[in-house]
Symmetry: C3
Subunit: 336 residues, 3 copies
Amino acid sequence: MKKILIASTALISTAGLATAEVALSGRAEMGVYQYNAAFGGPNNGNIQFFQDIDVTFTMSGETDNGLTFGASVDLDEADGSGSFAAGNTLGASGATGNNSDDGGATIFISGSFGTVTMGDTDGALDWALTEAGNVGNPGSLADDETTHAGYLGAYLDGGNDGQILRWDYTSGAFGVAVSVEDDNGSKAVNVDPGYAVGFKYALDLSGTTVNFGLGYQKAAGAIAAGQTDQSSATGVSVSANFANGLSAGVTYTDMSDNANDKHVGLGLGYTTGAISVHANYGKFTGEGANPDTKGYGLAAAYDLGGGAVVHLGYGSSKVTGGPTAKSMSVGLGLSF
Amino acid sequence: MKKILIASTALISTAGLATAEVALSGRAEMGVYQYNAAFGGPNNGNIQFFQDIDVTFTMSGETDNGLTFGASVDLDEADGSGSFAAGNTLGASGATGNNSDDGGATIFISGSFGTVTMGDTDGALDWALTEAGNVGNPGSLADDETTHAGYLGAYLDGGNDGQILRWDYTSGAFGVAVSVEDDNGSKAVNVDPGYAVGFKYALDLSGTTVNFGLGYQKAAGAIAAGQTDQSSATGVSVSANFANGLSAGVTYTDMSDNANDKHVGLGLGYTTGAISVHANYGKFTGEGANPDTKGYGLAAAYDLGGGAVVHLGYGSSKVTGGPTAKSMSVGLGLSF
Amino acid sequence: MKKILIASTALISTAGLATAEVALSGRAEMGVYQYNAAFGGPNNGNIQFFQDIDVTFTMSGETDNGLTFGASVDLDEADGSGSFAAGNTLGASGATGNNSDDGGATIFISGSFGTVTMGDTDGALDWALTEAGNVGNPGSLADDETTHAGYLGAYLDGGNDGQILRWDYTSGAFGVAVSVEDDNGSKAVNVDPGYAVGFKYALDLSGTTVNFGLGYQKAAGAIAAGQTDQSSATGVSVSANFANGLSAGVTYTDMSDNANDKHVGLGLGYTTGAISVHANYGKFTGEGANPDTKGYGLAAAYDLGGGAVVHLGYGSSKVTGGPTAKSMSVGLGLSF
């Protein structure tokens, strides 16, 4: 429901020219949220106000021979992020001040060869798979339903700094992608770039679309303590959007050289009129002596139209032997 | 190849649709300023360059059943603010990076029930009263006239983090508001949310409008040292805008559980053609052994049209027994 | 007086009104870069991803009597920059949060008297001279060609905080400017504002334009260790743009009270169709026992049209007796 501030479609169509431009969209959220001590965070306790706002700058253009290109950066990505140590220079964000990090921004160029994207984008495994939270999920203010400890959303992306270069190509129902996450040119032993490959296939069964995803990924960065190689993962997903508003999906991910042996995720969604509901469940099976971790998430929404939606979110997590972490949020999500 | 972002009012009116959008406005100030050692600050001494700039993103939309909603955030609110300690994460601002703080942003939804606003907005007492600096004040570059030590502008707002949820309703000449400032869900003893209630009445005397304001507020946050309860305040204001360009106002605020016993403020403004002048005076009477604090501010402006205004500001403050703090600024204020 | 960005060129032209507005433009860069250990930086080693993005807000307006005014600030200038010490307040940037610093923003007002600019702008010497990197240079992603150690780009601007107030006036082929960089009102002994004066002359030889620049500058801020006065510089430049696409330029700068005695810079550029190439060389001759420093830079570009350009940059630097520092970048520069 993002309405961009468009630059006079009438004027452009009259002139008939491709033109580079910057469009604005916005998002604001207000409500209340609460989470318990096991969930962590500075304000665990009673219910409190929830408020967030952001502006997105979306840039687009076209070369003389018809390649399209574009980029995207958010207002919050102008800001330094992460933890400050005395004397460091993290004030300028990675998006605008650090050329070796994406800082949340993405840039792409697209043509008959496919699309090449650099930045804070999905690696090829994540690109190919439809994870549980992407199955008919209307979202929530605090993302409770996709931040529980049993949720797997980014696979092995982010082994180094999460800056990814991906090529993807779609032809009819079939799609393929290859991606690299760099290691910032490191010469250190056992620090390497990561890579991934993914495949998609969309099967149309007269009104019901069934999406298949398959991929493999090797993580970027250093080898984790106690492992002999960078983590790797092979994943598969199947999801379906039924004509009656129901959607369902399952993912299975097998991991190596990782504290987890495998992950299973399930997602369900249903939309009828202005109402959407979603639930997902996920479980990591620990490798060897590592504990299992599981959790579930719920999201419900009522669309008021015009970009305003009432949201409710809930998440619950449990590491075997530990306490149950819980979080919830309710309020208005406003898209502009 | 710089293309400006134009918005096609024509297109929108033709389509006849309510559409969510993000609008841009800007403000730039250049001039000189000076302040003495008693005023404080890092560069007290000789006259120096003054320069400030900001961009505001104003979002607006409408639901299908006619509720209007919107939000506002400034470019400087994308930035972390406040004081940095080693290891903390204040880089991401409260507006975009901290869901429990407004960081300067506001969000509202409005309908026949009135308007509900969350964020960096006035509490109900501040909403109801017309403080001395809001009486015909054209403003200044360094806000000298409203930052002197005798000035009371925000009443007890900001006892915790200044994030306020306010409902207000206006019917004809009468207005009412109720507000809450939360305590971030704190479970600590003696840390509580604050609240306020306020009433407005506008009396139209054939060309002269007389505005009455009345309200009560209990501060959010912790009980101050040496007090037995959160501070509270009862305030009243009367102000008038005369047909000849003169405006005048007075406020009286009685405080409890506070280092100050009461505050009186007086404001005067006069506008003729392109010229505006303003003066205000304020005095805090200390509770018990606490000293009195008083000050005055002056502002003058000449409007060049098109958004450009020449500004002059002056402020003077004195705590009983202490030195006089002085500040002044002069230059151009540009609105876009 | 906040004017929102509505705009619709059609609406403005119909109404025939000058209107204050805020325009957006953007820039995104993606590619790879590499630099050696002698160049410095955190990621010297193998080749790595390069990515940068920025948004510029350009404000413009006009007073009732025809003075034009404007201002500019970038998204990255919303951010705090520089080095953080525990407890300081650098989170809010100089552009938006520190009134005594420009933080990268500029503000101007212009009329028949010329143009007065405040902020992150060229001092009068830099304004008058055409430095080597401004001779037919298409630029590069990492600015390799203008960041080598033999490059002189800003002359003595930035002796204090780089905030400059400049008046310039152009009449036909002749231009003159005077500038001041302030010392933030310092009362310290031997800390003073700096100033500069510059002259330009453009000679048109039937298709070939020859630009002459001449200026003098005294640096702002403190006297450097081992010197008896603030640094000063006298510079001259001659550059020419030939009708066949070739451009060439030379600068000579004589310095006093400085670790360098003099600087010579040479620049060459050539553009044919979509292709542009540029080379420059610069050398600082050390004063007394100070070593000489020299370097060269190369830039090449291929314009894809619509704002997309393929860039290649290279820089090489050497301080007498030290290692050779090298950097290069290649990729896409996208302007929106």
